[in-house]
């Protein structure tokens, strides 16, 4: 019987033969939601292929400033050479969760909570820069080095620094590729009609559009990241060895802010700080999928109401409505075909602050950054300024007070009855 199993398995293997190297695929949810014509889908795939190469042979385009050597180290199949230098680092360490194109849909994605990050939006949660800015290399390195506690993202502290640097470069590469893809898809959706040519090879205007108008701002944002780092003023940083009284006062002030209407932490993290406040919102990644599901549902209603219109309509109107029904049905079918492959959208659940698990790091400065610039892509808003020189909601001193309070939460005995939330009216709301 075992022999039979082997025979069958071998037959199955022979049946599929040596598998081709995995290619980059387009973001089909976006492609279908934006109703991009098949020839434009192909054109987008070609442009991306020309700019970024394949998962086995990535290209560090000069304009991106990426390091070809690092990309080569991270890309391609897994193997080691004689001296033990590792190759295919991304597929060795990352692809199982984050997927070949960095879409966060690797094989294991569905069993993980939270889902692995989809790099293609160029949005990263845990970073030291202002809300709208990209993360710095250092931010990405830190996430790799320390992992994300409380999630499936492990620490890669055992990897030598050059391998981590190669992975950081590759993550940036996948992000830039994904951002580029999104811009190309937006462009195709808004600017192009079926049958329009979209071919940089023969159209200098498209070349300029792709290289300058699209890639230019993306790279400006990535290259400018290190100038967007939020450095709290030295004077505001509380010293490590504060007298207990001072710390206590700071925690108390932080608690008032936490429950007050200016910082508003209580609304989402809940009166008990167990993350039991607002729970029915989505982050941008899940929202995109949720919107896709909703819009697919809506199509059914739309087709039904078009059919009612058709019953009443005559002549040209009827022909037109018939065409609309055909179009809507076609879109519905395309959407429906994708549904089974999507990760079911999950709500963004606010962090339970009493667990002592801080995903973005537990140093005071890590928590400071989370509060100051929010957590991009998620419902967590910024309380600090939106950019350099802008007016923040809270002062740096106040943010540090909340940091102190948040750090004190895991040590507040949760078995005791929770403290009554401070009444909003007891907290000063003025500037």
């Amino acid at each position: 019987m075992r022999a039979l199993a082997l025979v069958t398995a071998t037959a199955a293997l022979v049946g599929c033969g040596k598998s081709d190297p995995p290619p980059f695929r387009l973001n089909m949810t976006n492609v279908v939601a934006k109703q991009i014509a098949p020839e434009h889908q192909q054109a987008i795939a070609n442009i991306l292929g020309a700019m970024f190469g394949t998962p086995d042979e990535p290209i560090a385009l000069k304009e991106t400033g990426l390091d070809q050597k690092k990309l080569d180290m991270a890309a391609g199949p897994v193997w080691s050479d004689k001296v033990g230098a590792k190759h295919g680092l991304y597929r060795r360490h990352c692809v199982h969760c984050h997927g070949i194109s960095g879409d966060g849909r690797g094989p294991t994605a569905a069993v993980l909570n939270p889902y692995p990050r989809d790099y293609r939006m160029g949005v990263f949660k845990f970073k030291s820069t202002y809300t709208a800015a990209e993360p710095t290399n250092l931010d990405l390195t830190k996430t790799l080095h320390e992992g994300i506690p409380g999630t499936a993202m492990p620490s890669f502290a055992l990897l030598p620094p050059d391998e981590v640097a190669a992975l950081v470069e590759y993550v940036k590469y996948l992000s830039i590729r994904g951002q580029m893809e999104r811009l190309l898809e937006d462009h195709a959706s808004v600017e192009l009609n079926a049958g329009d040519k979209f071919d940089p090879a023969n159209d200098p205007a498209v070349q300029k559009l792709v290289m300058q108008d699209m890639l230019g701002p993306i790279m400006e944002s990535w290259n400018g990241a290190k100038e967007q780092v939020i450095n709290p003023e030295d004077a505001s940083i509380p010293p490590d060895n504060r007298p207990a009284k001072e710390l206590e006062a700071s925690v108390k002030a932080g608690r008032e802010l936490f429950y007050g209407t200016r910082a508003n932490c209580v609304k989402c993290h809940g009166p008990t700080a167990l993350g039991d406040g607002q729970q029915d919102d989505y982050d941008v990644w899940n929202k995109a999928i949720n919107d896709f599901f909703k819009a697919t549902d809506d199509k059914i209603g739309q087709i039904a109401s078009l059919k009612t219109d058709l019953a009443k309509a005559q002549g040209d109107d009827a022909t037109q409505i018939r065409q609309q029904i055909v179009d809507a049905q076609k879109e519905f079918n395309e959407r429906h075909a994708l549904l089974s492959s999507l990760l079911l959208p999950r709500n963004a659940i606010p962090r339970n602050l009493r667990e002592g698990v801080f995903r973005g790091g537990r140093r005071p400065i890590d928590v400071f950054w989370r509060i100051s610039s929010g957590i991009p892509g998620t419902p967590m808003p910024a309380s600090g300024p939106a950019g350099e020189g802008a007016q923040g909601t809270l002062t740096q001193k106040e943010i540090w007070q909340i940091v102190d309070y948040v750090h004190s939460l895991p040590f507040e005995p949760a078995s005791l009855p929770q403290k009554r939330p401070i009444n909003a009216s007891e907290v000063s709301t003025g500037e």
């Binding site: 600017e191 609304k267 109401s305 179009d327 929010g374 909601t393």
Partner: protein
């Protein structure tokens, strides 16, 4: 700091630009009224569970607002400038560019529900409620806490071809839409369903019709034609005249 000064300076520059690019002051306008043909589906009522204040205010789902005589509110009508092209800006608009665009959190609703902004303008986000809000403007990568009775200002620097969502994550039922263009030829329909865009350079232009529930308002009959699959129509603006599109009927089935 010194708005008057700024306005004058900006005006001077705009005049200079204008003088360099266009010689004839040939401008026209467009107006019309958008009405629903039929009875659109009632938007689902909002689920308001947070903040007694908001529950008391009973905010409504504004995704489809139909007024008197079937007037459709919050339709975005705007001139579409194809990627990579520029359009002459009438000097009349110079002073308006310096004015901030106000978005108010009031009664747990955004006012206005459909926001228009030009690149370079300042978006002044207010909170007139006694409760705290946050305002998440995805197109600007902006998401900041706005405490009660205060405001936050953000410079509008990035736009898109279509309106995008504005949300409050503390009160996820709150929604608004913002259109950011780098020209001022944009409008939203008011309570009476009317819109008007003034001082457009004369000539043929493509106009976009978009509504949050209907998306592209496609195959909508206009004088002498209809909008295409992407809710666009090419219309001729004549110098010194106002193109009156009259009542534009959007079938109720398009709003879904």
């Amino acid at each position: 700091m010194n708005n008057t000064f700024k306005a004058i300076a900006v005006g001077a520059i705009c005049v200079a630009t204008f003088a360099a690019t266009s010689n004839a002051a040939d401008w026209g306008s467009i107006k019309g009224r958008i009405v629903v043909d039929g009875t659109p589906a009632k938007p689902a009522p909002l689920v308001v569970t947070k903040d007694q204040f908001c529950i008391d205010k009973m905010p409504v789902n504004n995704s489809i607002v139909v007024g008197k005589d079937n007037a459709l509110e919050n339709v975005f009508v705007y001139l579409r400038v194809p990627a990579g092209q520029k359009i002459d800006i009438n000097p009349e608009y110079a002073s308006k560019e310096a004015e901030p665009v106000t978005l108010d959190n009031n009664g747990c609703e955004f006012h206005p529900h459909a926001v228009l902004a030009r690149i370079g303008q300042t978006l002044d986000i207010k909170n007139s409620d006694p409760v705290g809000h946050n305002t998440n403007v995805n197109v600007l990568s902006f998401n900041q806490v706005i405490p009660s009775n205060s405001d936050a200002k953000v410079k509008v620097s990035t736009g898109g071809a279509l309106p995008t969502e504005i949300a409050c994550n503390i009160h996820p039922f709150m929604k608004a839409w913002i259109l950011v263009q780098d020209h001022p030829y944009t409008a939203t329909t008011g309570e009476d369903g009317t819109f008007e865009i003034k001082d457009i350079p004369a000539g043929k232009h493509e106009f976009q019709f978009w509504h949050e529930a209907g998306g592209y308002l496609k195959n909508v009959k206009l004088k002498g034609g209809a909008t295409d699959k992407k809710g666009r129509a090419e219309l001729n603006i004549e110098a010194g005249k106002t193109l009156d599109l009259g009542d534009i009927k959007v079938p109720a089935s398009a709003l879904k």
